[in-house]
């Protein structure tokens, strides 16, 4: 497979997903973990979902609070992302934010 050119921002997001492939993640949580603004994060998430690499669902966390949109890699997404050569080494170069939030 040809090595794709992945932006450092996309790598940050993938890194979060690869660490816990089965966990559902919130948008704001990913934003804080990766240090990405919503304008950068959501296009990446939308692209991954467009190609069925990411699944989404609405979850209700507590009464009176609107449901939240959550994201998780699909099995196909996990397989494909893991197959990207150099992803781990490239991800290692990405600055890790100090904050690491909880998981849904």
């Amino acid at each position: 497979m040809k090595i794709p050119r992945i932006s450092p921002q996309a790598l940050r997001v993938l890194e979060r997903f690869i660490e816990h492939p089965t966990a559902w993640r919130y948008g704001y949580e990913l934003s804080r973990e990766t240090g990405l603004k919503s304008g950068t994060l959501y296009p990446i998430l939308m692209r991954l979902a467009k190609f069925s690499l990411l699944e989404t669902k609405w979850v209700t966390t507590e009464d009176g609070v609107p449901p939240r949109h959550t994201y998780r890699l699909t099995p196909k997404g996990g397989e494909l992302v893991r197959s990207l050569p150099g992803t781990a080494s490239a991800a290692a170069k990405v600055r890790r934010p100090a904050f690491s939030g909880g998981r849904a």
Binding site: P4, R5, L45, R47
Partner: protein, 552 residues
């Protein structure tokens, strides 16, 4: 606790963005909106909303530009990370359409001709030797092919055509003799070749033939006079008076001044050109082009005429002083008649002073005799000389410089030709860059960067626009050429010659005298750029080595 205004504004902004966003982005918008409740800080919430709204607005815009984009299956991991997919495709499609449209122009024969004309400016820049070598321009391969065909077919007119154009003197003489040998009616081609190459030894044999075939024409006399002038210059003999000239020179000039006509054979040559170009299906406009600015006249004719006319005026003055009014009248009248004979071909341009003097003196003689009518006639002719001279000067200047319209069209043709070349180079470079970057020749593997796309887009647009400008600017001249070739219609042919004449000058060169300077500066610039590029490459290499050393 009341919700702070920034958070309120953020919510309104995101709701509006969701409203304008396409249907498939609504979930994402609502997701951003729900996250807004968890963003810590009011201003952070606003920033979150601005970013999210931007994403949704972008999707809304894309759905307007490219409606109907659907979910598709994934073919490779590379596709996931391709940025701005739809926009990239649209740009690529636009570039492809521009290139296809530009190439479509090349299917039109007039456009191919126009492109060929636009490249003429580069001839002197590339063939540097022809600019600095006084021996003349390089051989013309197309003319050589035509010469071979004409020889093979024993085509007298074809050979005469080549004789009038080839830059090789001895070949020109040989072709002329072959042409006359095949068709005796073409003896006039000797005069054309003799005017072009005045030192040819064959001229001595040609002149009697010319005088026999066209006894009333003054042109052979001028040819002989010019040959004598050149031989005198070669021997460093510079005659100050007519009496110091050889008897042959004096005789031929006396005959020239008595000749009833002067035919430079340009009309016959133009008609011959047309027939030959049609016969050999030559569509190169430069083959129809001849430098008509100075007509087909010997270079020394003006000087010789002036020299001889002054001697006639001087001897007329002497005769008048001796009281020989009739003798003086004859001398002045010879000059005046000669001037009238030259007038149709504009040869009298260089004899303004002599003609004016002859008219004035003729008027004075009639005045002395009391013949007021004749005196007034010659005085009026003398007075008209200056105005006629001024008009001919304007006409000559227009012929030399070309009209404003032809100069402007020539500029457009040269500039658009240059842009086509530049755009072609840019597109080629972009194509190579994409292939090098993709490390593959497969179309599916080629992924251009935004910068490459931008350059490609400008290259495509440049190629298309300049092709259109080139076609529109050249078309009128193609029509003039076609009318001439098909019907012999010479209307605006001078305009075509003027246009072609200016088109041969490199863009930026003001005149033929500047060409060598332009060529010099051009190549100097190219060398400087190469040196600069080399220096940059060396510096980068040194910088790279220094970094590598520092890392180790």
């Amino acid at each position: 606790m009341p919700i702070a205004y920034p958070r309120r504004i953020a919510a309104v902004l995101l709701r509006f963005a969701i409203w304008i966003a396409p249907h498939d982005a609504h979930d994402w918008g609502r997701g951003m909106l729900s996250e807004l409740n968890h963003v810590q800080g009011n201003w952070a919430a606003l920033i979150w909303a601005v970013g999210g709204a931007g994403v949704l607005a972008k999707h809304a815009l894309l759905s307007v530009i490219l409606p109907g984009s659907r979910r598709r299956t994934l073919s490779s991991a590379t596709e996931v990370f391709s940025q701005e997919g739809p926009m990239r495709k649209a740009t690529l499609a636009a570039i492809g359409a521009c290139i296809a449209a530009s190439l479509f122009f090349f299917l039109v024969p007039i456009f191919r001709q126009a492109f060929h004309v636009s490249l003429a400016q580069w001839h002197n820049v590339i063939h540097v030797k022809s600019v600095f070598d006084m021996q003349g321009p390089d051989p013309d391969p197309e003319l050589e092919t035509l010469a071979r065909k004409a020889e093979k077919n024993h085509d007298a007119e074809g050979l005469a055509f080549v004789a009038a154009r080839t830059t090789n003197q001895s070949e020109s003489a040989r072709f002329a003799e072959e042409a006359v040998h095949l068709d005796a009616k073409l003896t006039w081609i000797y005069a054309v070749v003799a005017v072009r190459y005045p030192s040819l030894p064959e001229i001595d044999q040609w002149v009697p033939i010319l005088q026999q075939s066209d006894p009333q024409n003054a042109l052979p006399n001028f040819i002989v006079a010019q040959k004598i002038d050149i031989e005198e210059i070669d021997r460093n003999q510079n005659a100050g008076h007519v009496e110091e000239k050889t008897a042959i020179w004096q005789n031929v000039m006396a005959e020239a001044f008595q000749s009833p006509k002067l035919d430079d054979y340009l009309a016959r040559l133009t008609e011959l050109d047309r027939r030959v170009l049609l016969r050999y299906q030559v569509d190169d406009p430069f083959q129809t082009f001849r430098d008509e600015r100075w007509n087909n006249r010997p270079s020394y004719a003006a000087q010789d005429s002036s020299f001889y006319a002054n001697s006639l005026l001087e001897s007329g003055r002497t005769l008048r002083a001796r009281g020989d009014r009739k003798g003086a009248f004859e001398k002045y009248l010879t000059v005046a008649r000669f001037g009238q004979m030259l007038s149709p071909a504009d040869w009298d341009f260089f004899l303004r002073g002599e003609l004016q003097a002859a008219y004035k003196r003729l008027g004075a003689i009639y005045e002395g005799e009391g013949n007021k009518v004749e005196a007034a006639f010659y005085t009026s002719l003398a007075n008209q000389t200056d105005r006629a001279q001024h008009e001919k000067l304007i006409s000559l200047r227009n012929r030399v410089r070309g009209s404003g319209v032809s100069r402007w069209n020539s500029f457009l043709v040269k500039a658009s030709g240059l842009v086509i070349l530049f755009s072609g180079g840019l597109l080629l470079t972009c194509g190579l860059a994409i292939m090098v970057r993709g490390k593959s020749f497969r179309l599916s593997a080629l992924r251009p960067s935004r910068l490459t796309l931008a350059f490609g887009f400008f290259g495509g647009i440049g190629a298309l626009l300049s092709s259109a400008v080139l076609y529109v600017s050249y078309r009128p001249y193609a029509e003039i050429l076609q009318r001439f070739m098909r019907n012999g219609d010479e209307t605006n042919l001078a305009e075509l010659y003027s246009f072609l004449d200016t088109t041969q000058l490199p863009l930026g060169a003001q005149g033929f005298l500047d060409v060598w300077q332009f060529v010099l500066y051009f190549w100097f610039g190219v060398v400087l750029l190469c040196i600069f590029a080399l220096l940059v490459a060396v510096l980068r290499r040194l910088q790279f080595n220094a970094r590598a050393n520092a890392a180790t």
